[in-house]
């Protein structure tokens, strides 16, 4: 899916973000490699969404840096993001996808075939002509994933994509995420759902109160968290 050079690894160094005088993210450093599914894990308010947005370039850090191995527009267009509440344009399902393709400069003749292929991938062929905003919550999130799929990203950010979905819809979304992984798209997903993290993660970034407390192999993290907060979170104890 990637061109000659790769976006990855992504190097994040001493990243901090402040809003209204409050430090919401502090001294976060890590490196993301291709091929492994990274899950940002932590309780609500840990700074997961913030970190995703900083990596994706939707927010500008107060200090520190986010350095992709490719810079500029080539970098931005090879990333995609799926939000907790999918942003559905006031168009049909297929219209939502062809809009994204048009925004990426895909030739007019190629848009519809690619859009329909993406819908098929997400199991949404039947609702292609339906207004996106009339789809169910699960269908909307699958459409958001199909829209990302169509643009063939090298890196896909997901911000709690299943937090408002029922188990069946969650399973459908996770299957699609598997599809991205199989197509060599780097998955970077935020979740507070421990079970989901266990299902998906190859690597864990464990955030708590704006700090990165643990990072590394998921199995190790779940078996032997090295911090007190990590241990409490894995044990399912409430953590504030």
């Amino acid at each position: 899916m990637s061109g000659p050079a790769s976006l990855l690894p992504l190097r994040v160094q001493r990243l901090a973000f402040e809003a209204g005088g409050t430090r919401l993210l502090d001294d976060v450093s890590f490196t993301l490699q291709a091929g492994r599914r990274t899950v940002l894990l932590g309780p609500n308010g840990a700074g997961k969404s913030l970190l995703l947005r900083l990596c994706h370039g939707l927010l500008t850090p107060t200090s520190g840096e986010v350095r992709w191995s490719l810079e500029g527009r080539r970098s931005a267009r090879r990333q995609a993001m799926v939000f907790q509440h999918p942003v559905m344009l006031r168009r049909s399902a297929v219209g939502n996808i062809s809009h994204a393709l048009a925004a990426h400069g895909v030739a007019r003749a190629d848009r519809l075939p690619r859009a329909y292929a993406a819908l098929a991938q997400a199991g949404l062929s039947d609702v292609a002509r339906r207004p996106a905003r009339l789809l169910s919550g699960g269908e909307q999130q699958r459409l958001a994933l199909a829209r990302a799929w169509a643009t063939q990203p090298e890196v896909l950010f997901l911000d709690e994509p299943t937090s408002s979905l029922d188990p069946a819809a969650t399973r459908a979304v996770e299957t699609l995420i598997d599809g991205f992984h199989a197509a060599d798209t780097k998955i970077v997903m935020a979740t507070h759902d421990l079970a989901q993290a266990r299902r998906i993660a190859d690597d864990i970034l464990f955030l708590h109160k704006g700090r990165l407390l643990e990072s590394g192999d998921a199995e190790n993290f779940f078996a032997q968290p090295t911090t007190e907060e990590g241990r409490a979170f894995v044990a399912g104890e409430l953590l504030w």
Partner: protein, 236 residues
């Protein structure tokens, strides 16, 4: 009371008579106001969307101006356009004064701030919802602008109607730059003013009723289009 009764019968008579003079007045009213609204939208939609999205020094002042200009007095606009288009004025050579073109120009100036100011608000609200997605897509400024205007299209029809209401109802500007010349620049509002000043109150009121019916028809047409199309596209 008698005036009202006569007025309604006059209005009815005007409507069924298909009087040639009357029809030409109605036709010119529609032509001038619809052209002005079309031009105002052509300028106001992108302008409003631009002001909603762009960050530049003096932006607050521009918004203040747009909001203020929503209430531009038509006679003042008429006067300024008159001065600009009069023979001694900067655009006098065009010979536009006392033509429908001058009336269209004046009404465009009146309607554009309304379209731009309301568009700015609507687009700004939609940006709150669409912003992150469009930025995530790395959409350029033109794509962003057209996406927001396109997706706000149902809200924007209300803006068009507000502009049309302003244009079709105003008398001050078209009176000054058009001159209310029979068979040339006479529109419904200037005809009403004339009939009133000549004491033909029932004729004036009859024309007024027809003007209201006209506005009603245009609004109803838009509403019907909007409801059926709106359901399909789920604007909610």
């Amino acid at each position: 009371m008698e005036t009202f009764v006569t007025a309604f019968s006059e209005a009815g008579a005007l409507l069924v008579s298909f009087d040639r003079d009357f029809l030409s007045i109605v036709g010119l009213s529609l032509r001038v106001s619809l052209s002005a609204v079309a031009l105002a939208c052509l300028i106001g939609f992108p302008l409003g969307a631009f002001v909603a999205l762009a960050r530049f020094p003096g932006r607050g002042f521009v918004i203040l101006l747009l909001n203020t200009f929503m209430g531009l007095p038509p006679v003042v606009v008429g006067l300024i356009v008159f001065l600009v288009l009069s023979r001694a004025g900067p655009l006098g050579v065009l010979g536009l004064l006392f033509t429908p073109a001058a009336m269209i120009i004046a009404q465009t100036i009146l309607v554009t701030p309304i379209v731009a100011a309301l568009t700015r608000q609507i687009v700004a609200d939609l940006w709150v919802e669409y912003g992150e997605h469009l930025r995530s897509l790395d959409a350029g400024p033109v794509t962003t602008l057209t996406t927001l205007i396109m997706d706000a299209r149902y809200s924007l029809t209300t803006v068009v109607l507000a502009g049309f209401g302003r244009a079709i109802a105003e008398v001050g500007a078209v009176m000054i730059v058009g001159g209310n010349i029979d068979h040339a620049t006479r529109v419904m509002t200037t005809a009403i003013a004339l009939e009133t000043s000549q004491g033909n109150l029932s004729t004036a009121l009859g024309l007024g009723i027809v003007l209201l019916l006209l506005a009603l028809t245009v609004n109803a047409a838009v509403q019907i289009i909007n409801t059926s199309a709106g359901k399909r596209a789920a604007l909610a």
